[in-house]
Amino acid sequence: MAAASSASYAGSLERLNLRGVARTWELLLLLTARDVKLRYEGTVLGLLWTLAKPLLQALVFSFALSTVLRIRVGSDAPYVLFLLAALFPWTWFQASIQSSAASFSNNAALLKKVYFPRFVLPLSAVTSQLLHFALSIPILVVLLVIAGYYPRPTWLLGLPLLTAIQLLMLAGAVLLVASFNVFLRDLEHLVEVLMTLWFYLTPILYPLSLVEERLGAVIYLNPMAPLIQAWRNLFLYDQLPGVEIWPALVFTALALLAGSITFKTLEGQFEVAL
């Protein structure tokens, strides 16, 4: 039905003016802080879990793969470092998508009763996971230094660059997933399984070269493969990403486009579905 309808809020529910942008930003920060604060609420170690979890995970993986299965990564770096350089950024990716999938559907009461820029809900999951990721970088640096790898100035360019790419990619992806999940709650469970699959499809536990010969160009269908590879090359070899990162850039653009269009289209139906 092509019914004409419009709603305008002069100066109230600021949609595009500066005050509105500033408030949205503050809301994002507040929700991020809340998320971080609540994550390890009631635990003895608290925020230390942020560091302990990926480290313990890395120990488990390196025991399984390098001691039990004796995988050879063809890198001169110890396997743990090889692994962590990819596992930390991946954890940010995976945890963001998983924890934001239900961010609209779990906040039904709020969404139905107060109008605010709703996209901050899934985005705050991404930013709080980004914070955890940022906190894990010093751990990585310490371990690298112990092993004789020293960070170089290239990090100053590489870190913000790769962070920006992954942040934008996640922003699009979580908007897409969280919006659809309002109508199809199965998605949050499906996503969990798919992320495990994606984890194994991405060269995190193994080097890209291990699958490059067999799979060839197919690898480039996985945008996370070049991105994770770029993180690893930066952390271990101080290399900046080159043109081979293009699949990640294409995916980021597509995710942003699909995410914002989906959110815009479905937002109006939230009140009925929630």
């Binding site: 039905m1 019914a3 004409a4 309808s5 419009s6 709603a7 305008s8 809020y9 002069a10 100066g11 109230s12 529910l13 005050r19 500033a22 408030r23 503050e26 809301l27 920060l29 507040l30 929700l31 809340r34 604060k37 609540l38 609420e41 906040n107 009461a109 709020l110 139905k112 009763k113 107060v114 109008y115 605010f116 109508f183 199809l184 709650r185 199965d186 109006g268 009140e271 009925v272 579905a273």
Partner: protein, 265 residues
């Protein structure tokens, strides 16, 4: 401004209609949708359109306090939800000028694990304050809510009364220019209710526009300088509270709730 309305008119509804769909069955699970695609399509086709509001046009001027009355399912709450921006319109035009504070459900969005203070700040920012403003208002909010030391306790330790008190305190302290109140004042003990009404009275004197949905006709007569009677999604009467309330009470049959109308709340 191309608008023919003056700035004194803060809420303008022009031919606003709101349609909801009623589905015979709720088919939203992936399994059902995939396995029974024909049923799914049929169910979607069999949906019934239900007009919660039909061609409603009205304007509210700055500083007015308007009571919305009418039987259950008449469209009163839908009207408030539309003005608050929560429900998109199906047809028509809506203009709202000023900061809206919806008192639709107090304390929506409070997180039980966080203390009252942090929750109050997030809630105030959700309702439109900046973080700095929220922090400045916090002492007033804490005092008004009478929570005492509980303000620093996680909200899961609160009684429902305390929950509501903090919710109300935040909602009225965000310097609303337009306050939308939906029956929420029926909560809390008598003394706190008294306090809420006193505060709303004060906001009214400060020229805050108030739209109040209530079944308490005495309250509407006492509080509002205008009443609007909504029935079956249309404006049935609009004018002096005493007259509108009388009309509502004197209408013998017409205001029975139509069965289909119950679904909108």
């Amino acid at each position: 401004m191309r608008s023919p309305y003056s700035n004194q008119e803060v809420i303008i509804l022009e031919n606003v209609s709101k349609r909801y769909f009623l589905y015979p069955h709720r088919v939203m699970e992936l399994k059902k949708a995939v396995l029974h695609l024909p049923t799914f399509v049929k169910a979607t086709r069999a949906r019934q359109a239900f007009w919660a509001l039909r061609d409603v046009s009205l304007t509210v001027r700055r500083g007015e306090s308007v009571g919305i009355i009418g039987p259950n399912g008449a469209g009163k709450s839908t009207l408030l939800r539309i003005v608050s921006g929560l429900a998109p319109l199906t047809k028509g035009r809506l203009t709202v000028r000023g900061r809206v504070s919806p008192l639709l459900e107090l304390g929506a969005g409070f997180h039980p694990q966080m203390n009252g203070r942090d929750n109050a700040i997030i809630n105030a920012v959700l309702l439109g304050l900046s973080r700095k403003e929220a922090q400045e208002k916090l002492p007033e909010i804490a005092e008004f809510s009478e929570l005492g030391e509980f303000i620093d306790q996680p909200m899961r330790t609160y009684s429902s009364g305390m929950y509501v008190r903090l919710g109300f305190a935040v909602a009225v302290h965000v310097r609303p220019e337009i306050l939308l109140v939906d029956e929420v004042l029926a909560v809390g003990d008598a003394e706190f209710q008294r306090k809420c009404f006193d505060h709303i009275e004060k906001l009214r004197r400060d020229k805050v526009t108030i739209v109040l949905v209530s079944h308490d006709l005495e309250n509407v007569k006492h509080f509002c300088d205008r009443a609007i009677l909504i029935n079956h999604g249309v404006v049935a009467a609009d004018g002096k509270p005493q007259e509108v309330v009388d009309e509502y009470l004197s209408s013998p049959s017409g205001f029975a709730v139509a069965p289909a109308n119950r679904a909108d709340s």
